[in-house]
């Protein structure tokens, strides 16, 4: 099952020209700067934005072609807007039931109770909307969308209207959506951090066009793409817990390029985890250093070098076909005589566990 999308739209000051297929499982993130058309694209998929021609098919459900158009209320979608947009005249419970009451009993896949528990909103059910915090409102909005048992969940920057504290409050719930439901999710965002934590698949948009798509870990480290540049440029690594060292309180995480040693995390052995390594936290040496405090050192081969600015370079390292980014000064690169194909050791100072 895949989701097929083809649209060409010309408006006065804006052109949207997209043609892509995405796997209908996991979270597909659409990433791009404000105004690149990612929200418009999401609204088109929901049927909220009218456009005469185009093609949209989700699994075996045809939603639009040249002759045919399914109106939004007949599409089996859940849509989470940037602002929670709860109905002010209904309490939390009634908001949750609004969509649920309008679908066929035979289409029930996600029960209301499941949605309530997944988002942790049981204590809020009898509250009025204005008694909820921004984060609580957004959780209710997500549960309300889930309660319709959608075949496709569309999320338009659901965290962007929230402050950092609320973002951290909601993130675990979004992760549990990913792990516990089999509903494909399209997640629009301009925050690489959210994408690193949540997404499996990534579509990069710029000025109404798709510039690339692929797995998140691949696109994050492609030097020809904007994500691999700037202060937050980072690599995403899939690893799994391989053991714990109770003497020093450490946890070992294996990935194809080696083994990370991190502070103890209470995670079961073999549990998959995501790691994010920021380019400026990686340094290179030509020989394996033993006299160092850094624990995470991996043999690597330089795959690509691109100037980052006047004084710095961005380097893509291959660790047994897993890629890491490393940001160095041009001076260091010259001292070490770095070039593509050269074997080096990558020292990783810090690694963030994304779970």
């Amino acid at each position: 099952m895949t989701i097929e999308v083809r649209y060409t739209i010309k408006r006065q000051d804006f052109i949207l020209d997209v043609d892509f297929k995405i796997p209908s499982q996991g979270i597909t993130a659409i990433f791009g700067q404000s105004g690149c058309g990612k929200t418009t694209l999401l609204r088109i998929i929901a049927g909220l934005e009218s456009c005469q021609t185009g093609f949209l098919k989700v699994g075996d459900m045809l939603w639009q072609d040249e002759q045919f158009l399914v109106p939004p209320h007949q599409r089996s979608i859940g849509y989470v807007f940037q602002e929670a947009s709860l109905f002010a005249h209904l309490n939390v419970q009634k908001n949750l039931e609004y969509g649920l009451r309008r679908i066929n009993k035979k289409d029930y896949k996600v029960s209301l109770q499941q949605a309530i528990d997944l988002l942790g909103i049981r204590p809020l059910l009898q509250r009025k909307i204005h008694q909820l915090s921004g984060g609580e409102q957004q959780r209710v909005a997500i549960a309300r969308a889930l309660a319709t048992s959608p075949k496709l969940l569309l999320m338009d920057e659901p965290l962007s209207a929230l402050d950092l504290k609320r973002k951290h409050e909601i993130m675990p719930y979004l992760e549990s959506l990913h792990d516990e439901l089999s509903i494909p999710i399209i997640y629009v965002s301009h925050a690489p951090g959210e994408i690193a934590r949540l997404a499996d698949h990534l579509i990069l948009m710029d000025a109404g066009k798709i510039i690339d798509s692929g797995s998140v870990s691949e696109l994050f480290t492609r030097l020809d793409l904007p994500l691999a540049h700037g202060d937050k440029a980072s690599a995403l690594i899939h690893a799994q817990v391989s053991g714990h060292d109770m003497e020093f309180n450490l946890t070992y995480l294996d990935f194809p390029g080696g083994r990370f040693t991190v502070s103890y995390k209470p995670i079961e052995i073999n549990h998959p985890v995501r790691l994010r390594v920021i380019a400026r936290d990686v340094s290179l040496t030509l020989e394996h250093q033993s006299q160092t405090s850094i624990l995470n050192i991996f043999p690597a081969v330089i795959a690509e070098i691109l100037p980052e600015n006047d004084s710095q370079l961005m380097i893509r390292l291959s660790l047994n076909s897993v890629f890491l980014l490393c940001r160095l000064t041009k001076k260091s690169a010259s001292l070490l005589d770095l070039s593509v194909g050269k074997a080096v050791y990558a020292q990783v100072k810090t690694v963030a566990l994304l779970l």
Binding site: L48, P72, H73, S85, A88, H89, R102
Partner: protein, 227 residues
């Protein structure tokens, strides 16, 4: 206190105002909704026509209505050719005249209430499987409740208070088309100040109570937090 004809005038006034308000809500709601949603280039034209009774002297409106409703006018003539009677000097004629006269007082509050809701709640409802009609009744109408309240009371009160239009098209037939405002005028004209006081004071109190209830209820129902 109230004479028999005064009582009849009171009943006719309340009946007229109720029927007018009810019919205006029925007809005005879809018009107000269309005005709030439409991006038509000609919207301003309809808005101007609807606002016209606000600025037109009631006697001008009454005069044209009299001409139109009379046996030789287009509407009255049509009614007669269909076997009915012309609408001038009848209660039905009064209702029609009142509806036109009070139209902006019903449609404008509804339109601004619908506009204030914005597109978002309707879009959300659409993604939650509500059809256009369903979302109108389950979302737009409840969210526009303060607007409906204001529209009803203003429409009712404005109809109770009309004079010029009624005088022109209804005449002043006691028990049939004589309304309170005209009864007061009649009393004053023959210097029955006592009677005029009773009726005027009653109308003053009624109007104040209606406005009081609008403001009190709108405060209770106000939806402060829309997000």
């Amino acid at each position: 206190m109230l004479s028999e004809s005064d009582l009849a005038a009171l009943i006719i006034t309340l009946k007229l105002a109720s029927i007018t308000t009810l019919l205006l809500l029925l007809i005005g709601t879809p018009i107000a909704w269309w005005l709030s949603q439409s991006r038509s280039r000609f919207k301003f034209l309809f808005e101007a026509i609807i606002a016209l009774p606000l600025v037109l002297p009631p006697t001008v409106l009454g005069f044209y209505l009299l001409v139109a409703l009379g046996p030789n006018g287009p509407i009255g003539g049509l009614m007669q050719s269909l076997g009915g009677q012309s609408l001038a000097f009848t209660f039905s004629g009064l209702v029609l005249g009142s509806m036109i006269y009070s139209m902006p007082f019903v449609i404008q509050p509804l339109q601004s209430a619908f506009t204030a809701i914005g597109k978002r709640p309707m879009e959300v409802a659409a993604t939650l499987r509500a059809s256009p009609l369903d979302r109108f009744f389950s979302i737009a109408v409840p969210l526009a409740r303060p607007g409906f309240l204001t529209a009803s009371v203003l429409g009712f009160a404005h109809t109770v208070g009309e004079f010029g239009v009624v005088l022109m098209i209804g005449g002043n037939i006691p028990g049939e088309t004589q309304v309170l405002s005209i009864a007061i005028y009649d009393h004053v004209e023959i210097l029955e100040y006592n009677q005029a006081h009773w009726l005027s004071g009653g109308l003053l109190l009624l109007s104040f109570l209606m406005l009081l209830s609008v403001y009190a209820l709108n405060r209770r129902f106000s939806i402060t937090d829309r997000c």
